[in-house]
């Protein structure tokens, strides 16, 4: 464990050196994430200038849900962004063979080889949105609430990571499963809005099959009073751990089946 922490630190240090070399790009990257998220928030605020509530949800309640989604996504984005590249950067190029030769967990190496600095912009914007929303909603925060919030955000991030890992693993058989990961991740946009606006089928899929509902909506319900879904909110960390375990097992299974492209 200590060895891994030390290794990760070495990887990160290297990465920051590269980052400082392209300082301008770092700024542009953070700025562009701002732009992206801003577009989504802008859309919502324009719509809410014409309506009072969406299916009974107020603007700031939806903003709160957004905030959790942003933060969870940031956790995934900063530390696990390389999961996206397993197919074309490791398997297609034969880089994975190099990694398998080393006496360190291969998944750890892949993950550690990249820190996505743009995610810090996401973290910042998610935090501000959450803060703004909870202020407007007049929420009071006890120490316990803050701890739960951190756990929920972490769980949300873990679910993104698990889904990403699970579908990236298909690369072992199809060389690059990025299109599949991309397609599955387009489902995560559903999670930005209160799930009650969707049909039963969509809710079922986002709860029991691809659990994106637990990345924002369900955990947010812990902090809203009298909205129901408390059981789902409390289940969030369990769902996160379960998802990760399933994804990691599947990854190990794929790794055993792996035959190099030989390039």
């Amino acid at each position: 464990m200590k060895r891994y922490a030390k290794l990760y630190w070495l990887y990160a240090k290297n990465h920051f050196k590269v980052m400082m070399e392209y300082r301008m790009d770092f700024l542009i990257g953070v700025l562009s994430v701002f732009g992206q998220q801003f577009a989504a928030l802008f859309f919502l605020s324009i719509v809410f200038q014409h309506i009072e509530s969406l299916n009974g949800w107020s603007f700031y309640e939806i903003l709160f849900i957004y905030g959790i989604a942003f933060l969870g996504r940031a956790v995934h984005h900063i530390f696990f962004d390389n999961l996206w590249t397993i197919g074309w950067q490791y398997i297609r190029t034969g880089n994975l063979d190099r990694i398998l030769m080393r006496p360190v967990n291969p998944l750890f190496q892949i993950v550690a080889e990249r820190v996505q600095q743009d995610g810090f912009g996401q973290l910042l914007i998610g935090g501000s949105v959450l803060w703004l929303a909870s202020n407007e909603l007049g929420m009071s925060w006890s120490v316990m609430d803050v701890i739960v919030l951190l756990i929920m955000v972490l769980a949300s991030g873990m679910i993104y990571i698990a889904v990403n890992l699970f579908f990236a693993t298909f690369s072992f058989w199809m060389i690059d499963s990025l299109p599949v990961v991309f397609a599955v991740f387009s489902l995560s946009d559903f999670a930005r809005y209160p799930m009650t606006i969707y049909s039963k089928v969509i809710m079922f899929v986002l709860t029991y099959i691809i659990p994106f509902g637990f990345t924002a909506f369900y955990p947010a319900m812990y902090f809203f009073e009298g909205r129901g879904f408390t059981m789902f909110a409390l289940a969030t960390p369990l769902v996160a751990i379960l998802s990760l375990v399933i994804a990691y097992r599947f990854w190990l299974f794929g790794l055993r089946a792996f035959a190099s492209t030989g390039s």
Partner: protein, 264 residues
């Protein structure tokens, strides 16, 4: 004779695009999901209302569907150019017997033609079946809509090329292109009709090219832009296309003289 080589480039690009079936299905799935999200979102917005600032639910859904379709035609050529610049391939490209910008344009037209037949048409059928698209208001509006769409797509390509040319100056263009995407998403009306925006915002957008990308053609279709406004709007689109065409050429000609190619 001159045109022939560009037609060949466009045709070969179509074949290249056809080869990536996995990506095709992925993007079909992703756009379909986006349409469903929009559908449920607008349903919820209109739960207790018949109109939002004069727009009915069926009009809003029609707008959302068409805007989402049109949004698929954004960019592509600029990213290719940026890639060529970053990896040094541009040096070889500049030696070849065609104008690089024309080549990229030709490939872009190829890609977008195949996108239209392979993605847009089937997605429109899905949208008509599950979401509902209003029929056009008149024959004239269909005609004007078609012209407007072509101009909008051309303008999108030119704006994308402009960002691509800028990568002669900044090596990593990824951030820049994401920024471009965000600005266009907000200001083009790709997610929401510009008429819902505050007045000051609408005034600003009158003087910017972005409304010509999505809002103008779609609003012509839905009747949001009325008969008298149709042709002036198309003229403005045409003017933007002309302006960007010249600007991209000039900037490219200037940048090429200063180009530094890395070992690549």
């Amino acid at each position: 004779m001159r045109l022939q080589k560009y037609v060949a480039l466009a045709a070969s690009q179509i074949k290249v695009d056809m080869a990536y079936t996995a990506w095709y299905w992925a993007s079909m799935f992703s756009v379909t999901m986006r349409l469903f999200i929009l559908y449920f979102f607008w349903q919820a917005v209109y739960e207790n209302k018949t109109d939002v600032s004069g727009i009915s639910l069926s009009m809003m859904l029609t707008y959302a569907v068409l805007a989402t379709m049109l949004d698929q035609f954004r960019g592509g050529a600029g990213r290719e150019l940026a890639h060529l610049i970053k990896h040094g391939g541009v040096a070889v490209e500049l030696l070849r017997p065609y104008h690089l910008l024309d080549k990229l344009l030709a490939q872009d037209i190829g890609t977008k033609t195949s996108t239209f037949f392979r993605s847009t048409l089937p997605l429109l059928v899905i949208a008509m079946l599950f979401i509902g698209v209003d029929p056009p208001t008149s024959l004239e509006s269909v005609f004007a809509f078609s012209i407007s769409v072509v101009l909008a797509i051309l303008l999108a390509t030119l704006i994308d090329l402009l960002v691509g040319v800028l990568s002669f100056y900044t090596v990593n263009v990824w951030g820049l292109s994401v920024l471009q995407e965000a600005i266009i998403t907000i200001m083009s009306g790709a997610i929401i009709p510009l008429t819902l925006f505050p007045d000051w915002f609408q005034t600003i957008s009158l003087y910017l090219p972005f409304a010509s990308l999505v809002y103008v053609p779609v609003a012509i279709y839905t009747g949001d832009i009325q008969a008298s406004g149709i042709w002036p709007s198309i003229l403005i689109q045409l003017a933007w296309v002309g302006a960007f065409f010249l600007f991209v050429r000039l900037l490219f000609a200037y940048a090429v003289r200063k180009v530094t190619v890395f070992g690549g």
